[in-house]
């Protein structure tokens, strides 16, 4: 197919470069995307009507008729009668204005709440740094260790002139982030070992143990693992040893996350061409050298997008510790709602919480998708 055989049209060049009339411009876009056929037109009209109706009532409820502040009585109790009057017609965002610090930071001492605030920022910074590809090397492990140590120091205090705050007073967003991030950080090495064990055909007993662990944990709901941590764990410990509730939930989370991450890592190990392992064997590398320098660096790079997706899942799953009575974000929302004046404004509080979760998860999933595109660029023709 050489260019010479193409039909020559006797049209001025400038006009030939223009697309045919009727395929560009807003009207053409409308015709192609909204009014393509009578069926498409009907869908457009119906959806348009519903969307406009819903949007208008939402704006009316959430902005026009909304109440942002309420008066307080002399002893500091909110007078929510203004909100009660507009219930069903207007939103009462005053509940969030009144309670946002309780919801975000729990019962952490009020004057010290800058510490959990910095912790939240540290976590966000950690996520951003981990997301940048120029940081994907061994030093990243050090960054994680340093950040998690800083988180511990800030939350507990007791050193550097910070007052000591025990776990009983922690709550809100920091707990959610701690459970998810520490869960990932500790579950990951465990998951790598289990995934390797599951592929160790020469060690049938070890393989069996790994398969059992992964399949049992993945077969039961997270709640049952959390119940185990809250009611069974104290029985496991020798008399007199008392493990804190948050730590117990964290251990349950790590065990749970380990099984799921192990499957993700195993996917990466399986995707790696066999030749890599064989070449390493041919070079005479030992099992651990082969794994550490040849297999894992390539396999783990492959699993970063699914790893992010699994992390999003853990982030949402942290809300389940509500059931065993830990004060993470969602629990704090419920605690805020247990205050008598604000009891009937759960919709507003739940919407506020949903926005926080969506902000985190949406950013992460957007990142994971762009990453997947970038990493697949070599495979797309």
């Amino acid at each position: 197919m050489s260019q010479a055989t193409a039909t020559v049209e006797h049209v001025p060049t400038a006009a030939r470069d223009q697309p045919p009339a009727g395929t560009v411009g807003p009207w053409a876009w409308l015709r192609a995307n909204l009014l393509g056929s009578w069926w498409s037109t009907a869908v457009t009209l119906l959806l348009g009507y519903v969307i406009v109706r819903v949007l208008f009532s939402l704006i009316e409820w959430g902005l026009v008729n909304a109440i942002w502040t309420v008066p307080y009585s002399a002893n500091g109790i909110a007078d929510t009668s203004v909100c009660q009057n507009v219930k069903g017609v207007g939103a009462c965002w005053a509940v969030l204005v009144d309670k946002y610090r309780l919801i975000l930071f729990g019962r952490y001492p009020y004057d010290e709440q800058w510490r959990p605030a910095i912790v939240v920022l540290l976590f966000i910074g950690l996520f951003i740094v981990s997301g940048m590809r120029r940081f994907w090397r061994k030093e990243l492990v050090l960054i994680w260790i340093a950040t998690l140590a800083a988180v511990g120091v800030l939350m507990w205090g007791g050193v550097f002139g910070l007052s000591l705050v025990t776990e009983d007073y922690w709550g809100g967003l920091p707990i959610t982030l701690i459970l998810a991030t520490f869960g990932l950080a500790f579950a990951f090495p465990l998951a790598v070992l289990v995934a390797l064990g599951r592929r160790a055909t020469k060690l049938p007993a070890v393989k069996m143990l790994c398969v059992l662990y992964v399949e049992i944990i993945r077969g039961v709901p997270l709640i049952s693992v959390l119940f185990m941590a809250s009611v069974m764990f104290p029985l496991f410990m020798p008399a007199g040893v008392n493990v804190d509730k948050l730590l117990r939930a964290q251990i349950a989370f790590i065990l749970f996350a380990g099984a799921y991450l192990a499957e993700v890592v195993r996917g990466g190990l399986q995707a790696l061409p066999k030749g890599q392992a064989e070449a390493a064997d041919a070079l005479g590398l030992s099992y651990w050298k082969k794994t550490a320098f040849i297999i894992l660096p390539q396999a783990l790079r492959l699993v970063i997008p699914p790893l992010v997706n699994t992390f999003i899942g853990f982030f949402k799953d942290t809300s389940l510790v509500l059931i065993i009575g830990l004060f993470e974000l969602l629990t704090m929302g419920k605690v805020a709602l247990s205050d008598p004046p604000w009891q009937s404004f759960s919709t507003e509080v739940y919407l506020g919480l949903a926005v926080i979760y969506i902000a985190f998860c949406f950013a992460m999933s957007k990142y994971s998708r762009s990453l997947e595109r970038d990493l697949n660029r070599s495979r797309v023709r």
């Binding site: 192609a32 995307n33 909204l34 393509g36 498409s40 869908v43 457009t44 959806l47 348009g48 969307i51 020469k202 060690l203 049938p204 007993a205 070890v206 143990l209 049992i216 993945r218 077969g219 039961v220 709901p221 997270l222 709640i223 049952s224 119940f227 185990m228 009611v231 069974m232 104290p234 029985l235 496991f236 410990m237 020798p238 008399a239 999003i312 949402k316 799953d317 809300s319 389940l320 509500l322 059931i323 969602l330 419920k334 009937s344 759960s346 919709t347 739940y350 919480l353 949903a354 979760y357 969506i358 985190f360 998860c361 949406f362 999933s365």
Partner: protein
């Protein structure tokens, strides 16, 4: 074969050399055995340590062990149950059975509804209509990012905040939605209906057999006998005839407002309704993505080739695209079904009495935490295993037959 025996080198390759294990670290077999003994040993020691601690703790707290409590009278009040239950008479065993049935009730209906909704939304995202595509994308992006527990609590408070039965929202005075849950008309069940159902089942088997015969005939002669008239007669005609022959009983019981609550009709309790709503809406957002990517995984050329052969769009979808897309769709769909089932355990947060909720009450009453959690885990492992076995079978059934 005779050639192989002639060549001594090949014999050596085929018959593994009989080697004795040397008791040396340089021997791989010896090394692997030592490693396994060490690792299994560590696990066993930890396990033994935990068991010893537990039995000491149980003895110190005078907690009984074993499943003897299953035969004791439960005394747990249960709001909704599919089998007769009386807390004063029935045992823990029966209470737990009700929990299992309630879990299955949510899981089965939830899986069906989530598949339907998810498929519709997944196809909607591929629509050429810009508004529909964007709206369904918005649905997926937001609902996937909100924890299921938050969604359940949200729906539950919404349902509780509905007006009472007197001001119930209604659909043509037939179905009512109030803070007492959803009230639906119920068919007054007669033996004739059971017979009609049996006739339908027989008709279904007959249709499958007829379809198989038709396929055989098509393979043999190239002409496919019509299937749909037979299917129509067997699936609809036969049950209707049976039903009509038994007097065609048809009585619908409508829910009716009497005093402060509804009488008659079927009920979906607010707890069940909220749980179902939350699970279906949440899982549908994942299923939509699976369906979308499954359909998109089919190369455009398949559509074009089928169209070039003169197939109708419906035929292309049914005969060309779907059979291929299902292969991509089924494995992730299986894990979504499993997720929905496992997420149904969150019922405990809104007070629907599923297995977790009832087992939790049981372990609080008896103090037998280990047995209670063992029951929960055993039930979910059984359900998970059954679903994955069934889906694996279905997947193998659909899998591409390769050389």
């Amino acid at each position: 074969m005779s050639q192989a025996t002639a060549d001594p080198r090949l014999i050596a390759a085929r018959v593994a050399p009989k080697r004795r294990i040397r008791l040396s670290w340089t021997d791989p077999v010896f090394r692997s055995i030592v490693w396994q003994i060490i690792i299994v040993g560590i696990v066993l020691v930890i396990g033994w340590y935990l068991v010893r601690n537990t039995s000491e703790n149980l003895a110190a707290r005078h907690i009984a062990t074993g499943f003897g409590f299953l035969d004791r009278v439960a005394g747990i009040p249960i709001g909704e149950s599919m089998i007769p239950y009386n807390p004063a008479v029935n045992t823990y065993g029966r209470a737990l059975l009700i929990g299992v049935l309630n879990t299955l009730k949510v899981a089965v209906i939830g899986v069906v509804l989530a598949t339907i909704l998810g498929t519709l939304i997944g196809i909607g995202r591929l629509s050429k209509n810009w508004l529909l595509a964007k709206l369904t994308a918005f649905y997926v992006e937001t609902l996937r990012d909100i924890p299921i527990l938050l969604q359940l609590l949200f729906w539950y408070t919404i349902l509780q905040g509905l007006p009472g039965p007197k001001q119930a929202l209604h659909l043509g005075h037939v179905a009512f939605l109030s803070n007492r849950g959803m009230k639906l008309p119920l068919l007054d069940w007669q033996p004739a209906h059971s017979w009609a159902l049996l006739a339908f089942a027989l008709g279904f088997i007959g249709t499958v057999l007829w379809n198989r015969r038709a396929r055989k005939q098509q393979d043999a002669t190239g002409i496919r006998p019509a299937v749909w008239p037979v299917a129509f007669a067997l699936l609809i005609g036969l049950p209707v005839i049976v039903w009509a022959a038994l007097g065609a009983p048809f009585q619908i019981e409508l829910p009716e407002l009497r005093g402060f609550n509804f009488q008659g009709g079927g009920t979906l309790s607010p707890e069940y309704f909220a749980l179902l709503l939350g699970l279906v809406i949440y899982t549908a957002s994942y299923i939509a993505e699976i369906v979308r990517s499954g359909i998109q995984a089919i190369p455009q050329g398949q559509w074009e080739a089928a169209a070039a052969l003169g197939l109708y769009p419906g035929q292309v979808l049914r005969r060309i695209v779907l059979p291929q897309a299902l292969r991509v769709i089924i494995p992730p769909m299986t894990s979504q079904y499993l997720n929905l089932t496992k997420n149904s355990s969150l019922a405990v947060a809104i007070g629907f009495q599923d297995i977790v909720s009832i087992a939790n009450t049981t372990l609080n009453q008896t103090g037998q935490a280990i047995e209670g959690i063992a029951v929960i885990m055993a039930v979910y492992l059984t359900i998970s295993l059954s679903i994955s076995l069934f889906m694996n079978w279905y997947n193998a059934h659909l899998a591409l037959v390769e050389r």
